[in-house]
């Protein structure tokens, strides 16, 4: 049987990184094909090549029903029958369902105006095919996240897609919505549509996939019928690797002094898309590095945002054994908390400001007499940090927008470290930065812990969490799934808790 889509010898090189290395993939009509792998294994890159967002390096070929094709862009991919549903849904909230389904593809009447009657009728047809009982004139903003996903699928069907790629489709769905989605995927398979299914949740893969391809570090490790794999085999194939010497030896500096403790911490107003974080209860000790691991959408970041006063919470936070009422970031900062955010460009740095100005923003007062900034003092301190952290910048007067990702991250960390917070929260400290810089950031965090700082590291990078944490808290669907000691915290154990 000829596969509907065949990708052969696909490689993709980004500056300094080989994201994909000679990967093969065969997709058949009427098959659910799961792609498994850790973050950074190359899953999204492969999907982006399949849907025309990226071009593969020369030497790779893509063929559809045996015919070689060159996929120019996402619209071309769609016309070839390949659609993708991204984790972040892309719909116009203020338009209704029918308008969204036919956006850019509206049926017109003879005068050239949109033929709403035909559009609504066609939309109803597509929705009926999916057994969705919704009026196509409903505004998208009124739908739940799960329903929106269904509409995205309806849109894909309206294009006569032969392959639908779903990237972490259940990450933000409730149990019930997940079941509906799985039923829908079965129905699509019965209509001979091929599904590419990317998910961290292994039980889902076993429930719906016919075939699974495992990627690791840009290489296709194996491609197997689902009957031929067990959960243990799958996990081992996903994570098996030498924990590189890069991480070095770990020394714990944790003491018995509790600096931060939370009781029944619950998110007051969970967003429609986000996890419903509840009953978070843990202690953080002076000198400890506490790792937080969880899948995307599990609610790890929301927990940190509650502690830093960005999100409202119920429950109790105690700092230095005193009750703390944290209503805004200013309060959190005064209580000695620092927060290096996950999204350094959106929340961490003012890109048009210089290294010096970004660095001092958290503790400008330290350089001021009256209200005037002592630039010499500010500059000297900043130079110190640039040297110690090895920030590569032509000068401290360079705008941070011109720095590489790793160096931006170091600036984002430096601005908090310089303030000497008692508690430092770092969310995805090494996302998108190269291996060398990663090791330096880890060394820095350990150094700070040895000086008595209490550090929370949130990461979806398993080897990182294991290498630097004294304890690991695993978050699963908005709750603490387990607290593992350093001895218990192996990759497989953590994955079992996070996905089990």
């Amino acid at each position: 049987m000829v596969p509907f889509l065949e990708m052969h010898n696909i490689s993709k090189t980004f500056p300094g990184v080989k994201a994909l290395n000679h990967v093969d993939l065969k997709l058949y009509a009427g098959e659910v094909h799961a792609i498994a792998g850790e973050n950074g294994a190359g899953k999204s890159t492969l999907m982006k090549i399949m849907t025309g967002v990226f071009k593969a390096d020369p030497g790779g070929t893509i063929s559809i029903e045996g015919e070689p094709v060159e996929i120019r862009d996402p619209i071309h991919a769609r016309s070839l029958g390949i659609s993708i549903i991204y984790q972040e849904l892309s719909m116009v909230e203020n338009l209704n369902i029918a308008e969204n389904i036919f956006l850019g593809n509206e049926p017109l009447n003879r005068a050239g105006f949109v033929d709403y009657r035909r559009m609504n009728a066609k939309a109803s047809q597509v929705l009926a095919q999916l057994d969705l009982d919704i009026d196509p004139k409903t505004k998208v903003s009124e739908l739940s996240i799960g329903q929106k996903q269904m509409i995205e699928i309806a849109k894909a069907i309206s294009y006569d897609s032969r392959i639908i790629v779903m990237d972490e489709p259940t990450a933000s769905l409730s149990q019930h919505e997940t079941e509906t989605l799985i039923n829908l995927i079965h129905a699509l398979r019965a209509r001979n549509i091929g599904i590419v299914y990317i998910s961290h949740r292994l039980e889902e893969i076993f429930e719906i996939a016919d075939h699974v391809t495992i990627l690791r570090d840009g290489v296709s490790v194996d491609s197997l019928k689902i009957e031929a794999v067990t959960r243990d085999i799958l996990v081992r194939k996903m994570v098996d690797r030498e924990l590189s010497e890069l991480y070095g030896d770990h020394h714990s500096h944790a003491t018995d002094t509790v600096v931060l403790s939370t009781r029944n911490l619950t998110l007051k107003r969970p967003s429609l898309h986000g996890a419903r974080v509840r009953d978070i209860q843990f202690d953080l000790h002076k000198g400890e590095i506490l790792g937080f691991f969880g899948l995307i959408g599990s609610g790890r970041t929301e927990i940190m945002e509650m502690i830093f006063g960005i999100r409202e919470y119920t429950g109790h936070i105690r700092i230095n054994d005193r009750p703390a009422d944290i209503r805004d970031p200013g309060t959190a900062i005064r209580l000695g908390i620092g927060f290096v955010t996950e999204d350094r460009k959106g929340q961490g740095l003012v890109l048009d400001m210089t290294v010096r100005e970004n660095f001092s923003l958290t503790h400008l007062k330290q350089y001021c007499s009256a209200t005037f900034i002592n630039s010499a003092k500010e500059g000297a301190r900043c130079e110190d940090f640039v040297k110690t952290l090895g920030i590569k910048t032509p000068s401290i007067e360079q705008k941070v927008v011109n720095l590489s990702g790793g160096n931006q991250q170091k600036v984002a960390i430096a601005k908090w470290v310089a303030r000497r917070p008692q508690i430092l929260i770092v969310d995805e400290p090494t996302r998108g930065i190269d291996v060398g810089a990663k090791a330096e950031v880890h060394a820095l965090l350990e150094e700070l812990a040895s000086q008595g700082m209490a550090i929370i590291v949130v990461s979806s990078d398993l080897p990182e969490i294991i290498a630097i944490s004294d304890r690991v808290i695993v978050i699963k669907e908005g709750r603490i799934g387990g607290i593992l000691s350093r001895e218990e915290a192996g990759e497989e154990q953590i994955m079992q808790v996070a996905t089990g």
Partner: protein
């Protein structure tokens, strides 16, 4: 990443070390406008001998000084990512209230304070609408623009107010320090003060951070709402100050005084390199921008060009100046 590292450092080695007084004091963006100012000034002085005389230059400076003073407040607002459309109304109303106080026989300090108070109240009101209620600055200040203008017509019933004022008051708008008109002296003083505030103080730094990335600034502990409230109050106060000067200069508070001034003021800030997206701009730039527009207006008159063309020429200058800026950043990427 190593590739990204090397390409991310476009600055040549020399420029890194040589952070000269010039480049630290006036950033490159302002130099562009300053260069444009000199070039256009030179062109006009070739075309007409009347331009490059002390009398003419002082006259020009005095005529753009009010716009330039208001541009100082405006650029602060623009740097936070906002806009203040109410400056013309506030200026007019402040001049009217000052006149009204003199009309009622009040003393000079009271009259001036009352005028300035108008600015603080309007600016504070703008700030509250924007930070507490969450109105977009464009809408909030559009509303106060109309309110201010409406109040002026209600108070004057369309008739200008020309009270008697003390001689000392007349000096503010009409006097000279040596050859320099007092409004120009005030402009220079304000420029220096606010330039220092924006460069050397915590407040100034926080203004830039708020406009550059409000979210990041807030998470770094900057009280962004308070900063925004302050800049609108300052913009109101400065516009009211311009109103007091204006009344002193003409000694007549017209109901249409300051009408449409907001457009010239915003144009000055934009010509001077301020980005309406926030985070970028400078006090000196805005003042030079106002000077550029003023000199062009003067040149049009001196060269006997149809004065009706003046507005069109100013418009073209705005578009050219800002286009050059945009293209420059585009090609740098």
């Amino acid at each position: 990443m190593s590739v990204a590292d090397s390409s991310a450092n476009p600055m040549p080695a020399k420029a890194r070390r040589g952070r000269t007084i010039w480049s630290s004091f006036i950033k490159i963006r302002e130099l562009n406008v300053l260069a444009a100012l000199l070039v256009i000034g030179a062109l006009i002085s070739f075309a007409t001998p009347y331009f490059l005389t002390v009398d003419n230059l002082m006259g020009v400076s005095r005529s753009f000084s009010l716009t330039a003073i208001m541009a100082i407040g405006m650029v602060l607002v623009i740097i936070t990512g906002g806009i203040d459309l109410s400056v013309g109304s506030v200026m007019g109303l402040a001049s009217l209230i000052t006149a009204l106080c003199f009309d009622q026989g009040m003393s000079m300090p009271v009259a001036i304070s009352a005028g300035l108070g108008v600015g603080v109240v309007f600016g504070g009101f703008n700030g509250v609408l924007i930070t507490v209620i969450g109105l977009p600055p464009f809408i909030a200040t559009l509303g106060t623009l109309s309110i201010g203008r409406g109040m002026m017509y209600m108070i004057t019933h369309g008739v200008p107010l020309t009270p008697d004022v003390p001689d000392a008051f007349v000096e503010i708008g009409q006097g000279y320090l040596g050859v320099i008109p007092i409004p120009v002296v005030l402009l220079i003083v304000l420029t220096v003060i606010f330039s220092i505030i924006m460069r050397q103080t915590r407040f100034g730094r926080h203004v830039y951070a708020t406009g550059g990335n409000e979210h990041a600034a807030r998470l770094s502990g900057v009280k962004t709402d308070r900063i925004k409230l302050y800049v609108y109050m300052l913009s109101g106060l400065i516009s009211a100050f311009a109103g007091v000067i204006s009344f002193s200069r003409y000694l007549s508070a017209e109901p249409a005084s300051g009408f449409g001034a907001e457009l010239n003021v915003i144009a000055a800030a934009a010509i001077g390199g301020a980005s309406l997206a926030g985070g970028i701009g400078s006090v000196e730039g805005a003042v030079i921008g106002a000077a550029l527009a003023g000199i062009i207006a003067n040149g049009v008159v001196l060269m006997n060009i149809d004065t009706y063309a003046q507005q069109a020429i100013t418009g073209a200058v705005i578009i050219i100046a800002v286009s050059l800026d945009v293209l420059r950043t585009k090609f740098r990427r």
